[in-house]
């Protein structure tokens, strides 16, 4: 239960009522005022002061001042009349309650509307600020654009003026030239007329020449130096594997690709011990094939076979190696081995495309000749015919095929 404060004092003038309520030691922040036009409440726990005003007051203009342990409330009167009493004394409890509730409601409404209006005002101000900002920026932009436009127009005008001047100078030059020509013609005409009377063509020609030489001497500018003596300069380029242009950002990718290619060309069988002893180039099947070819060309067939063996061990899918080794075996008279190698080569050349037609022809010829040397002429003929189909214009091949055919027929007729 709050303690009712009764030791308040009040004074009045014609237009205002002053009430002074002792605060009894309460701090200023803890004092709560509620005032409407007929009711005033000052609450500072545990004390409570309320007054049911006898006359209505103007609540919008009521003020309260807290200081020096006293709260002074100023209530401007609605009508300038003298108040007998500050408070109405004949209120019963019910009425009092009603009045209190009304007052509370009214107070709340007032606070609500106040806060609403404050929010609206804030929003309006923000909007205004934004609009002015936008206007300023737009002005700035327009200014820059205008300056650029001015510059542009100035340049256009200058250009147009310059063009006009050019045209004028060109016209005057043309006129001068025309004038010049006419003058020269007149000059030439006068003496030629005179000479005509003397009728000597030679003189006329001479005069014309003089006229021409005058004109040309005006045209030839300062003598240019002779063209240079032609020469070639050899250049060498920084080596680059790829045909595309060099880009720094692509270099790591390119290096990686090259490394992978190099590794792929190297030994597939990395577990063979002897390969560790080989030099770098001897691990390259292409290099070994070259070596084998050279040996074959120089007659060292055994050396060629060795080279091809090693190459095949490194990379067993190159048909050229088998085909060449077959040729070596033929020379060494290892006919069965030759047939094997040639067959292997033909197997590897299985997609029968025009690109490997020459290789297939060679392999067939080698196998055919091996068969013939083993006197298996039927198989030999088959192979030679296959080779002939691939290479129909080879005269030596045709001759050989004919020979085999004859031999077959001869043996057929011979043995029955």
């Amino acid at each position: 239960m709050p303690l009712i404060v009764t030791d308040y004092s009040w004074t009045q003038t014609d237009s205002t009522v002053f009430i002074s309520v002792p605060l009894k030691g309460a701090r200023a922040e803890r004092v709560d005022f509620l005032s409407t036009e007929e009711y005033l409440k000052v609450h500072y726990p545990p004390y409570l002061f309320e007054a049911f005003l006898s006359e209505p007051v103007d609540e919008d203009r009521s003020t309260a001042k807290v200081g020096n342990g006293v709260a002074v409330i100023t209530l401007p009167k609605c009508s300038n009349a003298f108040w007998e009493h500050l408070v109405i004394t004949t209120y019963d409890k019910e009425k009092k309650k009603e009045v209190r509730e009304r007052a509370l409601l009214k107070y709340q409404e007032r606070l609500c509307s106040e806060s609403r209006s404050k929010a609206e005002k804030q929003q309006a101000e923000k909007k205004y600020a934004l609009e002015t900002m936008m206007k300023l920026e737009k002005e700035e932009r327009d200014r820059i654009v205008k300056r650029k436009e001015d510059e542009r127009e100035k340049t256009t005008a200058e250009l147009a003026a310059w063009q006009l001047r050019q045209r004028q100078t060109a016209e005057t030059e043309a006129k001068l030239k025309l004038q010049d020509q006419r003058d020269r013609q007149n000059k030439l005409k006068a003496p030629t007329e005179k000479q005509e009377k003397g009728c000597s063509d030679g003189a006329k020609v001479k005069l014309d020449e003089r006229g021409n030489s005058e004109a040309t001497s005006q045209k030839t500018p300062a003598l240019l130096p002779a063209p240079r003596r032609a020469a070639n300069i050899q250049v060498r380029f920084t080596p680059r594997v790829f045909p595309t242009a060099l880009r720094e950002s692509r270099v790591p990718e390119e290096e990686e690709w090259l490394q992978k290619q190099a590794e792929a060309r190297r030994a597939g069988n990395a577990d063979v011990e002897e390969l560790k002893d080989l030099r770098e180039e001897e691990r390259n099947p292409e290099w070994l094939k070259d070596k084998g070819d050279k040996c074959f060309a120089s007659g060292d067939f055994l050396g060629a076979v060795n080279a091809y063996n090693l190459a095949i061990r490194l990379h067993s899918k190159i048909p050229a190696l088998y085909s060449n080794r077959a040729a070596c075996h033929l020379k060494l008279k290892n006919l069965h081995k030759a047939i094997e190698d040639a067959s292997q080569a033909l197997d590897l050349l299985t997609p029968a495309v025009p690109a490997n037609a020459a290789a297939r022809a060679r392999a067939s010829v080698r196998r055919g000749s091996a068969f013939c040397q083993l006197q298996l002429y039927a198989e030999g003929l088959q192979d030679y015919q296959a080779a002939l189909k691939l290479d129909p214009h080879n005269a030596a091949l045709q001759a050989d095929t004919q020979t085999i055919r004859d031999i077959l027929q001869g043996s057929a007729t011979g043995t029955h």
């Binding site: 063209p227 300069i233 242009a245």
Partner: protein, 328 residues
């Protein structure tokens, strides 16, 4: 607020949309006309001459050619004649009189493959000496031509027998400060830059800038060579100081990704008491994005300062005005 507007501004004067791919655009000296070179979609070459009138371009002349034209220059022609030298996709070097563009004044099959770049010196009243034209081609050779000698080039820089060839993407002439001296600088797609001296007919300097070289140019053709700028792929460019050549290190350079300031000391001596050039620094003055497609060529007007024409792969040719260049 005033400082951004004090910098040189790049203002688009106007642009013209074309119906063909334009590779090169050049101003015709002593006039407000420029010529555009390119190729139609049907595979034939085209040359169009426009005149700048009242803020837009008027087409004056048009000529179609059997082969697309890649590049052109006015560098080797006199101011009175103003003949255009062009290189085309078939490797032909032609010189045209623009009044009569049907038949060339001079024609030679310069290269086996497309002529990527062409430059001329000795004309237009700039420099002394005979007018010469240099062409660089995809067949890896760089040839210098004199129009008085039709059948063979005056100089031929070619790879040796059996050497692999790289595409030559750009050529430039410079160091033409007297009758005899000339230098040709060539840039290749593997990043090589080679400088040839035509007086001694030898290779004077070479370097590799690790990216394909798109364009090389001397700052002025008719002086003792001063600066050389080389632009390359990956958006890099290098500026070389050509006044001081070190015997092994060559020319010093500064490179930037994407106002060349000279240092206070342009050359100093290194450990072997040989002069080494000191490159300065470069600053970006202004940049502008004009199009989403690459700009293939840009040419300054020789008559009006700040006026330039540029053409891009968006089939548009633009004339730009750059202001405040005198303050640079």
């Amino acid at each position: 607020m005033s400082s951004p507007l004090d910098k040189p501004q790049i203002i688009s004067h106007f642009q013209k949309s074309l119906n063909y791919t334009v590779f090169d655009s050049k101003w015709i000296p002593c006039s407000a006309k420029f010529v555009c070179l390119g190729n139609y979609a049907r595979g034939t070459g085209v040359m169009q001459i426009y005149e700048v009138q009242q803020g837009e371009a008027q087409l004056i002349k048009e000529q179609e050619f059997p082969k697309p034209i890649k590049c052109g220059t006015f560098g080797a022609t006199s101011l009175q004649q103003r003949h255009l030298a062009t290189g085309d996709f078939g490797g032909n070097l032609n010189i045209w009189n623009l009044e009569v563009p049907g038949t060339p004044v001079f024609s030679v099959k310069a290269h086996k493959e497309i002529i990527n770049s062409i430059d001329g010196v000795g004309g237009l009243g700039i420099g002394d000496g005979a007018p010469e034209i240099v062409t660089g081609s995809r067949d890896g050779t760089v040839k210098v031509w004199d129009t008085r000698q039709k059948d063979s080039p005056v100089a031929n820089m070619e790879p040796g027998e059996g050497e692999t060839k790289r595409d030559c993407w750009t050529v430039a002439l410079g160091h033409a400060f007297n009758d005899q001296d000339r230098c040709v600088c060539a840039g290749y797609d593997n990043g090589d830059i080679k400088l040839f001296d035509l007086r001694n007919m030898s290779l004077r300097w070479e370097t590799n800038i690790k990216n394909g070289v798109c364009c090389v140019e001397f700052d002025r053709k008719d002086i003792n060579m001063n600066k050389l700028v080389a632009t390359s792929l990956e958006g890099k460019f290098h500026v070389f100081d050509m006044r001081t050549q070190h015997p092994t290190k060559g020319f010093s350079s500064v490179s930037e990704k994407a106002h060349n300031e000279y240092p206070s000391q342009r050359s100093k001596t290194d450990s072997d008491d040989l002069a080494v050039g000191v490159a300065g620094s470069v600053t970006l003055l202004q940049n502008a994005t004009l199009s989403t497609q690459p700009i293939a060529s840009l040419d300054w007007s020789p008559d009006k300062k700040g006026l330039c024409v540029c053409s891009g792969f968006d089939q548009t040719v633009r004339v730009l005005i750059v202001t405040k260049l005198s303050q640079v």
